[in-house]
């Protein structure tokens, strides 16, 4: 039977939303407070959902320990307590939470067994979140 298994992780990071292709005035108009020169930060929640057949021997879709190790190595170690703008992924890409969500999805898809990753959700605050299913 196909089931879904989800796990939530936290990471704290700073960012500044600024598009080089826009003027200073346009950046302020588009990004508002998020364009503040020195950046700001969030406690992000990253929710990772994997899906697949429940293994008859283990009763699991995927061993939690393996999922934790993948998320820790690929996502938490990379972004936690960092400035997202300085990460090579965001040199030419604005580190909005949409783009962070897509980056997390891709980083995990590269290491998780094929076909297992169902969805990544990144919550920037308790009032906004973004989801990526690889579409």
């Amino acid at each position: 039977m196909r089931a879904y298994f989800g796990r939530r992780y936290t990471l704290s990071a700073s960012h500044r939303l600024h598009a080089d292709s826009l003027s200073a005035e346009q950046n302020r108009a588009v990004y508002g407070k998020c364009n503040n020169l020195h950046g700001h930060g969030h406690n992000y929640f990253v929710e990772v959902v994997v899906a697949g057949k429940v293994h008859p021997e283990t009763g699991m879709v995927m061993n939690l320990v393996d999922l934790d190790a993948a998320v820790q190595a690929r996502v938490v170690d990379r972004f936690d307590h960092c400035n997202l703008n300085l990460d090579p992924l965001f040199v030419n890409l604005v580190p909005t939470t949409e783009n962070l969500c897509k980056a997390v999805y891709r980083l995990l898809q590269e290491v998780l067994p094929a076909g297992l990753l169902e969805r990544v959700r990144v919550e920037e605050t308790e009032n906004n979140f973004f989801e990526c299913s690889g579409e």
Binding site: R2, F5, G6, R7, R8, V61, L64
Partner: protein, 137 residues
Amino acid sequence: MIYLTRRATFSAAHYYWNEAWSEERNEKVFGRCANRNGHGHNYTLEVTVAGEPDPVTGFVVDLKWLRDLIEQEVLEAWDHRHLNLETAEFAQTIPTTENIAIAAWGRLEQGITGPARLSRVRVYETPEIFAEYRGEA
């Protein structure tokens, strides 16, 4: 189509153990969850039904009825129980969060009839860990 979700909580004990495996393999795969003295969780169950609002009542289903169904079918069997030792469905099946979601679906599906249908069962083992079953083969 409207999706309506009701939450309920139950507290239960369990452990993970595959009888066909050696003690060493069980401990390697399941870690601390293989402790045969058991451990427990406060589980949160989310039951989602799908349907159109009734033209007279505006309800997809009556929430009180859904609460009672969850209470009778799931909580009475599992709340304050040891899942491995006291429930029929986990005598042979390991009570992982995935299998708990599937078993909860099995207990609820027959009771939800009429225009509304069971759409999703999600079980939180902790606020950070959940499993979901949507009736897929």
